[in-house]
C-alpha cells in the first residue's frame, strides 16, 4: 500500500530577482518526503538548501512547479509546520516555558483554548516536552540564563509543541561545540523515535546528516540541484559511537566526495 507523501515537490524551481540581476537558486527539482521520514539536505553554502525549507514552510513561493501537501496543492490543506534555526531567537521577556508555549497561542486548534488552558493542560503539555529534553528544571528561567545548548533544546521544543506535520530544521546545531552538538543529536533522535515526526534537516555537517537522517539528499552548488538521494541504513537508535565505525566513516567520505566533485549548475543544459 503506497502512502500519500506528506510533501511532494514537482519540478519546483526558484529564481530570485528580476531581469539581468536574476539568479537561479534552485533548478526545477523533484523531492518526495514520506510521513515519518528524516531527510537531511546537505551541500555547499548557497546551494538552495534553506530555499527548499522556505518553500515547504510556505515562506517562499516557487517560481515554477507545484508543491503538494498530503497530495493536495498548497493552500488547499493547512500544513502545520515547526521551524528552528541556528539562532534560537527565544523571546527574552518570557520564561522558557512561555517561549515554548508561544505556538499554542497562534496555531489552530490550540489557539481557541489558549486562554483557558494556559495554566493547566497546556502547561503540562509544555512541561512534558521540556522534561523530555531535560529542561524542566529551567522552565521558569529566562532564555539568557541558559547555555547555548539549552537554548537550542528550548528552540526544538518550541518547534514541536504544536505537533507539527513537518519539523523543519535549518542548521539548528551549527553554532554549538562538538560535545553539545552530539548531545543534541541524541535528543533529536529520541524525539523523532518517540513522536514519529517527519523531519527535514538542513546542515553542512555531513556527520550530523549521516548520524540523524534516514535519507541524505546531496545538493550541488548554485543553482541548486539534488545530485544524490541516499538512504542511510544504520539501525536505530544509533549510538554516538557509530560515528567512529568504518561504515559510517566511509558513508561520510562518500558524501563529501560527491559534494566536492559535483558538476556545477544544470547538467541537462550541457548534455
Amino acid at each position: 500500500m503506497k502512502q500519500v507523501p506528506i510533501v511532494e515537490l514537482q519540478k519546483v524551481g526558484v529564481t530570485y530577482g528580476q531581469g539581468p540581476d536574476q539568479t537561479e537558486a534552485l533548478v526545477p527539482t523533484d523531492l518526495t518526503i514520506a510521513k515519518g521520514d528524516f531527510v537531511a539536505l546537505v551541500g555547499p553554502s548557497g546551494c538552495g538548501k534553506s530555499t527548499i525549507l522556505k518553500l515547504v514552510s510556505e515562506l517562499l513561493e516557487p517560481t515554477s512547479g507545484t508543491i503538494l501537501f498530503g497530495g493536495r496543492e498548497l493552500g488547499a490543506k493547512p500544513m502545520r509546520v515547526g521551524m528552528a534555526f541556528q539562532s534560537a531567537s527565544l523571546l527574552p521577556w518570557m520564561s522558557v516555558r512561555e517561549n515554548v508555549m508561544l505556538p499554542l497561542k497562534i496555531v489552530p486548534p490550540f489557539k481557541a483554548d489558549f486562554r483557558a488552558k494556559k495554566g493547566g493542560e497546556y502547561r503540562d503539555r509544555v512541561d512534558d516536552l521540556l522534561a523530555q529534553v531535560g529542561l524542566l528544571d529551567f522552565a521558569d528561567k529566562s532564555p539568557w540564563q541558559l547555555s547555548g545548548g539549552m537554548m537550542q533544546r528550548a528552540n526544538l521544543c518550541r518547534a514541536l509543541i504544536h505537533d507539527p506535520d513537518l519539523l523543519l530544521l535549518d542548521e539548528p546545531f551549527g553554532a554549538l561545540d562538538q560535545f553539545t552538538r552530539e548531545e543534541l543529536w541524541q535528543t533529536l533522535q529520541a524525539l523523532w523515535l518517540d513522536r514519529g515526526i517527519t523531519v527535514m534537516l538542513v546542515t553542512h555537517d555531513l556527520r550530523e546528516a549521516a548520524y540523524l537522517a534516514s535519507r541524505v539528499c546531496v545538493m550541488s552548488a548554485r543553482p541548486g540541484r539534488i545530485i544524490e538521494d541516499r538512504a542511510v541504513p544504520f539501525a536505530r537508535p544509533r549510538p554516538i559511537d557509530i560515528t567512529f565505525e568504518s561504515d559510517f566513516v566511509s558513508l561520510v567520505q562518500d558524501l563529501r566526495g560527491q559534494i566536492v566533485h559535483a558538476p556545477v549548475g544544470r547538467t541537462e543544459d550541457a548534455a
Binding site: V81, M83, S89, K105, V107
Partner: protein, 253 residues
C-alpha cells in the same frame, strides 16, 4: 562598598558642583547680577516660593499634557511605521524634516492659531517629544530578528499576532528609553513657548525676572525646571525597570 559608592556618587557630584560654584563666585567676587551663588539662588527660591509655585504648576501641567499627547501620537505612529517597510520608507523623510524645524520657530504659528497662553505651550511640548518616541518604537519593531519572523510566519501567524507577541514587547525597552529623553524635551518645549508667548509658567517668570535684573530669581526658575526634569526622569527610569527589566538582565536579578 563599591555598590553604595555607586549609589551616592551622583549626589556627591551635584553637591560638589554647587560647592565649587559657590567658592568660585566668592573668591572671584562675581556680582549676583551676573552669576548668583547657589546660596543666593536657594534664598530666592524660599523668598519667592509663593510666587513661583503657580508658575511651576503651570509649567508642570502643560508639559505633562503635551507629553501625554506626544506619547500617544508617537507610540501609534511608531507602531504604524515600524510594522511596514513601505510606511517606514515613506514617512521617515517627512518626520526628519518636521523634527529638524527648530521648535522655537513654530511657537508664533501656534500663537497665531490659538492665541498666547496654555495651548501653544502644550502643543510645543507635544511636538518636540514625538520624534524620539516614533524613531525608537519603529526601530524596536522593525529590527525583529528575521529568523524569529520566519518562525512566526511558518506558524501562519498574522501580522497582528506577530506585532502583539513579538514586535510590541520587543520595542518596549526602546520605548521607555525614549520616554526619558522625551520628558526632558517636553520641558524644553513648554518653557520655550512660555518664554515667547504666555503670561504664566516658569519660562514667563524667568523672562520677567530677567527684565527686572532679578538674576537670583531667574536661576531659581532654572533650578525648579532642573528638579522637575530630574524627578520625572527618575520616575520613568523606575517604570522602565518595571516594564522592560528583561532588557537590562542582571541588574534586576
Amino acid at each position: 562598598m563599591t555598590r553604595t559608592m555607586e549609589k551616592i556618587a551622583p549626589a556627591l557630584l551635584i553637591v560638589s558642583v554647587f560647592v565649587v560654584w559657590e567658592l568660585f563666585c566668592l573668591m572671584a567676587g562675581i556680582s549676583e547680577l551676573v552669576l548668583p551663588r547657589p546660596t543666593q539662588i536657594v534664598a530666592a527660591l524660599v523668598k519667592y516660593a509663593p510666587a513661583i509655585w503657580p508658575h511651576a504648576w503651570q509649567t508642570f501641567y502643560t508639559t505633562m499634557v503635551g507629553f501625554a499627547f506626544g506619547v500617544a501620537i508617537g507610540l501609534s505612529l511608531g507602531v504604524l511605521i515600524g510594522s511596514s517597510k513601505l510606511a517606514y520608507k515613506t514617512a521617515y523623510p517627512l518626520l526628519v524634516g518636521i523634527s529638524s524645524v527648530p521648535k522655537v520657530a513654530v511657537v508664533p504659528i501656534f500663537v497665531l492659531w490659538f492665541g498666547a497662553g496654555t495651548v501653544p505651550a502644550i502643543l510645543t511640548a507635544m511636538i518636540i517629544c514625538i520624534f524620539p518616541i516614533v524613531v525608537n518604537v519603529a526601530t524596536g519593531i522593525a529590527t525583529v530578528e528575521p529568523e524569529l519572523e520566519d518562525v512566526m510566519r511558518s506558524l501562519k501567524a498574522t501580522k497582528m499576532e506577530i506585532l502583539r507577541n513579538v514586535g510590541l514587547p520587543r520595542s518596549m525597552p526602546y520605548f521607555f528609553a525614549s520616554l526619558k529623553v522625551a520628558i526632558t524635551l517636553s520641558f524644553v518645549g513648554s518653557v520655550i513657548a512660555e518664554t515667547v508667548a504666555s503670561n504664566k509658567g516658569v519660562g514667563n517668570l524667568m523672562m520677567i525676572a530677567a527684565s527686572s535684573f532679578n538674576v537670583p530669581l531667574v536661576f531659581a526658575g532654572l533650578m525648579v525646571l532642573a528638579v522637575m526634569g530630574m524627578s520625572l526622569y527618575a520616575i520613568f527610569s523606575v517604570i522602565e525597570r518595571r516594564m522592560a527589566g528583561w532588557a537590562m538582565r542582571k541588574e534586576v536579578q
